[in-house]
């Protein structure tokens, strides 16, 4: 399965951001910004070169310490990982420039705010490590790197609501990763290996595997804020500094989703059943409806966006039932819709990452301009901040899933897979979610076009902030353009496109 050539790129993807993160520690606030920006640029460059190499070779591997699995750890840059790393790099570089400008223009931040740079570069390295790792325990360590630095970023504003939300997030993160680690312990005890590839060959149905599956799934769902374990997300993402909200909602929750997807597709197939897929799909559908409904009822812009994350993450869960074959379906027949479902998963991840980070960045601009993010802050936005209003519009369209945006492509593929697989009952949930999303997006846009009162404040905003938000919105809109190339790259290697074949004795009847 892994006949990719060995290369140093996977190692550099982790080492470069960490080198710069350590460098930033030595500077005071201003120097930290410049060294942090340098680190972001360097990491983006390395990501681009690594992805280019992966496209050329079809994928890359790196045996850490020169040891073969199961004794050593394998880093594996396959097409799926490459796409996620690309997403991280694009979001990361835009948010880095935004953050540089934002942290410099705000003077009421606590002194610790310049710790943003080391923490963010560590987070970036952790995310890259997570996407590359092919080892269950190494994934745990990477999850912890990501979790602790994410919470560290979340509490940078130093305000009590942010601290409270941060502590709740941290407790969920610790509990989730311990639950995951218990699953790892069971799998290691039963199969004597931690390597994903070896494990997928060795795994057998049975009580142990089922229990490990349940523990790891629940743990990762809690960390990804999947319904019904999403309770920590809105207060956390609603109270952070804008660049941090953007990073956490776009990237951090996707990390755990990526692991979940890999585990289900590569390891746990034998213990899954059609019913299990349906169950997790129902969670997804409920998340879509509930999250969108909550978003409609919020008063503060950042809370609308945060609740919308819960809903958009629900779409990702709805992919799982479509990947699991119903009893008596041939794999060859299923390839029709499994490929669409995988495309939907990847495109929903990408378009949500770009659109959501863009929205949070735009919300940050509005907070600077108006001093708050209540509904009144949006009034007459089109005239006052045309660029930001345009970014919100583009990102909102992509979230809603209107053609011809990236979000549209994701939702269209999801619908296509649902219909083709005969599981038509997911279609109403997708459509209802889109309508509700349209509701809050147009609520925001209506306010933006409404005439404002003259006493609405309009403080100056550095131009760089608005451009970063717009860049990401454009990205989320236009990722549909290279879709064909991206999908053909992804299809060159498993697990993309493959169906999950349930075994005997799975988790649900």
């Amino acid at each position: 399965m892994t006949d990719f050539p060995t290369s140093i790129w996977p190692a550099l993807l982790v080492a470069v951001p960490i080198t710069f993160a350590l460098g930033t520690v030595f500077f005071a606030a201003a120097g930290r910004m410049w060294s942090g920006l340098a680190g972001s640029v360097a990491t983006t460059l390395v990501s681009a070169l690594a992805i280019a190499a992966a496209v050329r070779e079809g994928g890359l591997i790196h045996h850490l310490g020169g040891w073969e699995p199961p004794l050593g750890i394998l880093l594996r840059l396959d097409p799926l990982a490459a796409v996620f790393i690309g997403m991280t790099a694009l979001t990361g570089i835009a948010v880095s420039f935004y953050a540089a400008s934002y942290l410099r223009s705000q003077d009421d931040l606590p002194r610790g705010a310049s710790l943003f740079w080391p923490l963010w570069l560590m987070l970036w390295a952790g995310l890259n490590g997570m996407f590359l790792s092919n080892d269950l325990f190494n994934l745990f360590v990477a999850i912890e790197v990501v979790g602790i630095s994410a919470v560290g970023l979340a509490v940078l504003s130093g305000k009590p609501p942010a601290l409270m939300a941060g502590l709740r997030y941290l407790l969920v993160a610790i509990t989730g990763s311990m639950s995951y680690l218990f699953g790892v312990a069971l799998l290691f005890g039963a199969y004597g290996t931690l390597d994903l590839t070896l494990l997928s060959a060795a795994v057998e149905p049975g009580a142990t595997t089922v229990f490990a599956l349940v523990l790891m799934t629940l743990g990762l769902m809690a960390k990804s804020a999947f319904f019904p374990l999403h309770f920590w997300l809105p207060p956390a993402h609603g109270s952070e500094l804008p660049p941090v909200s953007a990073l956490l909602s776009a990237l951090v929750v996707k990390g755990s989703f990526y692991i979940l997807l890999r585990l289900w597709a590569e390891v746990f197939g034998v213990s899954l059943t059609f019913a299990a897929g349906q169950l997790i799909g129902v969670c997804g559908a409920a998340a879509v409806i509930w999250g969108s409904w909550q978003a409609l009822n919020q008063d503060r812009l950042k809370l609308i966006i945060a609740h919308s994350s819960v809903a958009q993450l629900g779409y990702l869960l709805m992919v799982f039932p479509l990947l699991i074959l119903a009893p008596g379906t041939a794999v060859a027949v299923a390839s029709d819709w499994t490929s669409s479902a995988w495309t939907a998963a990847v495109y929903q991840t990408l378009s949500h990452a770009f659109a959501k980070s863009s929205l949070f960045l735009a919300a940050g601009v509005i907070v600077i301009a108006a001093g708050h993010d209540c509904r009144e802050s949006l009034l007459d936005l089109v005239a006052r901040r045309p660029m930001t209003a345009f970014a919100i519009g583009l990102a909102g369209i992509s979230l809603t899933g209107l053609p011809p945006s990236g979000g549209f492509f994701a939702k269209w593929m999801l619908l296509k897979a649902a219909i083709a697989s005969g599981q038509w009952w997911w279609a109403p949930a997708v459509l209802a979610g889109s309508f509700l999303t349209a509701g809050y997006v147009f609520m925001i846009l209506r306010l933006a076009f409404a005439p404002g009162n003259s006493d609405t404040e309009n403080r100056p905003v550095p131009r760089g902030l608005e451009s970063a938000a717009l860049l990401l919105a454009v990205a989320s809109f236009f990722i549909i353009v290279p879709a064909e190339a991206v999908i053909s790259f992804l299809e060159s290697s498993a697990p993309f496109g493959s169906a999950i074949v349930p075994g005997e004795g799975g988790v649900l009847p």
Partner: protein, 103 residues
């Protein structure tokens, strides 16, 4: 009782400890207790790993789970220290010590 091997006794204990910690995280209200509960949960996980290591012992016990547990302990303590710092800061700023007033 003699049919039960050493590692099985500790495995059973690990299951109970994990559940205790999990219940504690959700049911306790004071930040402090929740943090201690995550540590107990972790202890359950580590106990199961070390038990497996003892089961797989040849000349010496399986070193891989031991290394995993040492790594895990350090990581868990770092996270717990951070959580404690957060809890204390919240307590200083607001006087709260549980989540009741939070939305």
């Amino acid at each position: 009782m003699n049919a039960m091997e050493t590692y099985q006794i500790y495995l059973t204990a690990s299951a109970v400890l994990f559940t205790t910690g999990l219940a504690g995280v959700f049911m306790a209200r004071h930040f402090f207790r929740r943090i201690v509960a995550t540590k107990i949960m972790g202890a359950g996980v580590f106990l199961s790993l070390v038990s497996f290591a003892e089961r797989d012992a040849l000349e010496f016990a399986d070193p891989v789970p031991h290394a995993m547990v040492i790594t895990g302990i350090v990581v868990a303590v770092s996270a717990a220290a951070f959580a404690l710092a957060l809890a204390r800061r919240i307590h200083q700023l607001t006087g709260e010590h549980d989540f009741t007033t939070d939305s």
